[in-house]
């Protein structure tokens, strides 16, 4: 049952990304191009998503288990540390370079374009590099 709900969540997430236009890198870069020809669409995607998810997270924070009996895992960290700042800057640079963030890239793998596959492979390699660095320098 939890595998069906996870699959359905991924499917609806992907359809939302496609409908919203976020699988088009040019549209994402258009949002980041505030000093040029600005396309505010991405802000509307976030607005719609947050407005719906807000209620779900309000319910989730008051419970420890889901109706399927799964433990609700919410991040406990509160402080804005160097890792968060440096990591977010690194991610933002990569996002601005190609116009892909993780969701839209993966939701574009099964299309005719080869770039999402290349991007996703490089992204997974980057995640693997992170894991190796964590093992070598656990404190960083």
């Amino acid at each position: 049952m939890i595998l069906i709900s996870a699959f359905m969540s991924g499917l609806i997430f992907g359809i939302g990304l496609i409908l919203s236009g976020m699988t088009d890198p040019a549209k994402v870069i258009g949002f980041l191009d505030v000093t040029g020809s600005w396309d505010p669409s991405l802000a509307f995607v976030m607005l719609g998503a947050i407005a719906v998810a807000y209620f779900a997270f309000r319910i989730a924070t008051r419970q420890s288990k889901t109706i399927l009996g799964e433990t609700i895992a919410l991040p406990a960290k509160k402080e804005i540390d160097t890792r968060l700042i440096v990591g977010s800057i690194t991610f933002g640079i990569g996002w601005g370079l190609a116009g892909y963030c993780p969701g839209p890239a993966i939701a574009s793998i099964a299309t005719n374009a080869s770039e999402p596959i290349l991007f996703s492979a490089a992204m997974l390699a980057g995640m693997a590099i992170y894991e190796v660095l964590q093992k070598l320098m656990p404190s960083s």
Binding site: L17, A26, L32, S37, A49, A53, A56, E115
Partner: protein, 142 residues
């Protein structure tokens, strides 16, 4: 200046609401945050049952364009980045999202929806970094 020709407020709002619905399902049924970088990156160290739900979610995400395309033509996409830029960008996104504990979905949607100060800060930072990157790329005619 706003690019009115490309601006799609209604589709983007509706698509966003579907993303919010998906994130709601995952937290209320599976108890998990719909952060794509965390779900994918977690696969590298996940053990046993922790692997299966991640693969199920990612399968749904991968299948989405096939289902969408069966009902309606997929929106046109324009990819201006060359393969070298794509690879560099992918590496930066992979390392950065893991180091910063999240991406547009985990911080930008789920984190802001639960009013997490860390996620609000992260989202402001990666949008700003993206804006500066696009600005510099435009200046350098990348």
């Amino acid at each position: 200046m706003i690019n009115w020709a490309e601006f799609t407020p209604l589709n983007s709002l509706l698509g966003g609401m579907l993303i919010g619905l998906a994130a709601s399902m995952l937290i209320l049924l599976n108890g998990r945050i719909a952060g794509i970088s965390g779900i994918l990156g977690g696969l590298l160290t996940a053990k046993g049952n922790d692997t299966n739900w991640r693969l199920a979610f990612l399968s749904g995400l991968i299948v989405a364009p096939l289902l969408y395309g069966a009902v309606h033509a997929l929106p046109a996409v324009t990819i201006n980045a060359g393969n070298t830029t794509i690879i560099i960008a992918g590496l930066l996104v992979g390392i950065g999202t893991r180091y910063g504990s999240g991406c547009t979905s985990g911080h930008g949607v789920c984190g802001i929806a639960r009013l997490s100060p860390r996620s609000i800060a992260a989202t402001c930072i990666f949008i700003l970094a993206g804006v500066v990157t696009v600005f510099l790329a435009r200046q350098l005619d990348w």
